[in-house]
Symmetry: C2
Subunit: 397 residues, 2 copies
């Protein structure tokens, strides 16, 4: 653990935000930083959770330990909603308390003697959990990277997708699409290349699709849309950004039965053992919420929430475009990735906080490939997003 | 992971139960096996969770990501309820989705290069998570132990507490009191010895107090009642067996700021980093339930639930005593530990299941020191406990 540099990114940003509040106690600070949902959960979903809560005080409605893998109806409905025609059955779905937690449980399956690749920039939990498990070498200050991790540079220059012929083979490849933080989503052709690359190298892809429902175009919403992916990929996802479940905690991970270790042992069996030993299932009340999310009314309500955040995204993108900045992401994700060429991300972050009282996230917090960028999250009340954009316009006009 | 023997104990028991149901589809199977709560959650608690659920669909009541360490009022109330006068502040409390999950997070803090001691018999998650983290040697079939784990034999002969002068030094000592499975709870004098032993050896005690509210006598309910414990111990606990939260998922772990690694670094800082990186906090609805549990009405209601299960315990103890068996535990725990001298636990388990359709837990599932014992759980509806005892009386009369 001593190898880890500073704190986990988001608590560090919260710390700076709090310091700013101490300095300017009267400032109206707007947070477009940690990607935290702000809009209420649709009532069709909260009612279902309230109903389940009440039922737990009755003899008929009470239940104790659930299956660690999740309740059968929830697994079945996730399979039907997101993976129908993709050959992913309910037995391949493991319901969890969120994608971040499942990433660590997956790392426990892999153990310490594996090599890892991550997109650079990428969501910090991949690298940090990898360091904690002892998979990496020391942090190298000059290049801002850990040893023994393959950083796959994803920048505007390569359309946020690497030339895979130049990427070294690793045992595990973390790949997030739509990407956090760049907001880019991979095309069918790119994902086909990725699956072939993994197959050729005997690698396992951990595909983070937590923002898949934000995709507006024809890009795949699941890695399992790619033929052959079931033999090389795990997919992890979450209700957090669809239904505002960041506090309720519910997600899932797909480990297809077709995915085998090189000795032929099913990865799902090991994951099942980890889930049984290190976890006790997601809260039954949250699972009742998940069922409601996937009802016809729930799906419509979630699309409403997602549509709202996507309008925010457009407002933010238009703002920075009008100011002459190069802006990426946004279309298929709730994140806008703004380029500040030649500047340090933390400097821009500090400047924005100091002069506009808006909290964003410095791109370099996601890896050295994020240097010179700022991630602006579209999770916010409309009036706050509009106000933040007004302030940006004033500062950068 | 290949070192692990068979599956995690409780899914294995569920498997055998299901096989029995297939064989005897009409049998009325009674489960006194996995220690799963059966009584409804008191309404004062479920109402609070329903209220929080509904609030999440309002602008004022919505919240997204909570602090990974738990909501401040929950931490404060746990501190006040269980640790007042013990010098444990709210900042020492980490709210979680349960003790089992926190055990793995603690193991992540310790890493793979540590040595471990466990009570034998003990709750299997300690050993299994230790194996998964790579702390142990191979499983040694002849002695039914993993290499590089110190098994502290706890049997009727030593009053379920070892002569510590014969116990080897380890970095970590898992200690559960009231004990699962033996039901014994350690005295103040014994815990004082344990704390001194840890201090002398520079060991960290992970004290599992998930059944502390079942203690009827003067034995300590927290390790922190022992002077000096804050410098050597972590305590993990749970609402599962107090409020029937096995499915709702809520627990906590105390890592006192006074607890330091040998290099002087606070253990709490590392645990905080693990919690921030590998976890996103317990469900906010479950936390609302936790607050209600600790209100005056909630505490009274929980004591009612605990009292009910303790009556079950008495019924089970009286049954086996009347049949001439030596029976342990029970007084301070919801588990009865029945001795079947000279017999294999799994044989007795199978005999009970086959002839009485009652599921119990074989003692040897908790370690070689449990061989020859059966754990009977007091978690059950009253009529089922009475019926199970009638069947036991018929079989063993």
């Amino acid at each position: 653990m001593a190898k880890l540099q500073a704190g986990y990114l988001f608590p560090e940003i919260a710390r700076r935000r709090n310091a700013h509040l101490l300095k300017y106690p009267d400032a109206k600070v707007i947070s477009l930083g940690i990607g935290d949902t702000t809009e209420p959960i649709p009532e069709v979903i909260t009612s279902a959770m309230a109903k389940r809560s009440h039922a737990l005080s009755t003899l008929e409605g009470y239940n104790g330990y659930g299956a660690e893998q999740g309740e059968k109806p929830v697994r079945a409905l996730i399979s039907k909603t997101f993976y129908s025609d993709l050959g992913i059955g309910e037995e391949d779905i493991f319901v969890s308390d969120g994608a971040k937690c499942d990433i660590t449980r997956l790392q426990l399956v892999f153990g310490s003697n594996v090599s890892m690749a991550v997109q650079d920039p990428s969501y910090p939990a991949y690298v940090d959990s990898s360091v904690i498990l002892g998979q990496t070498g020391l942090y190298q200050k000059d290049v801002e990277k850990y040893g023994n991790i393959e950083y796959i540079r994803c920048t505007p220059e390569n359309g946020f997708f690497p030339d895979l012929s130049k990427v070294s083979r690793t045992d595990i490849i973390f790949f997030c699409s739509p990407n956090n933080p760049t907001g880019s989503s991979a095309t069918r052709e790119q994902l086909t290349q990725l699956v072939e690359f993994a197959k050729m190298n005997g690698s396992i892809i951990v595909y983070d699709s937590a923002y898949a429902m934000y995709i507006s175009d024809d890009n795949p919403k699941s890695i399992f849309e790619i033929p052959g992916a079931k033999e090389v990929a795990i997919e992890t996802s979450s209700f957090s950004k669809y239904a505002g479940f960041t506090g309720v905690r519910l997600g899932w991970t797909v480990v297809p039965k077709e995915l085998l270790f090189s000795d032929g042992f099913p990865v799902a069996k090991d994951f099942n053992r980890i889930v049984s030993t290190c976890f006790n299932g997601a809260s039954n009340i949250a699972q009742a919420g998940g069922l409601a999310c996937l009802s016809p009314e729930g799906l419509e309500a979630m699309r409403g929430v997602i549509g709202f955040y996507k309008e925010n995204t457009s407002i933010i993108m238009d703002t920075f475009k009008s100011l002459g900045y190069n802006v990426y992401g946004g279309k298929n994700a709730p994140y806008v990735w703004v380029s500040f060429p030649g500047r340090s991300s933390w400097d821009v972050f500090a400047e924005m906080l100091e002069k506009t009282h808006v909290v964003t996230t410095p791109g370099s917090g996601f890896g050295p490939g994020g240097e010179g960028f700022i991630r602006v999250s579209a999770f916010g009340h409309r009036e706050n997003v509009l106000e933040a954009c007004r302030r940006f316009k004033q500062l950068y006009k």
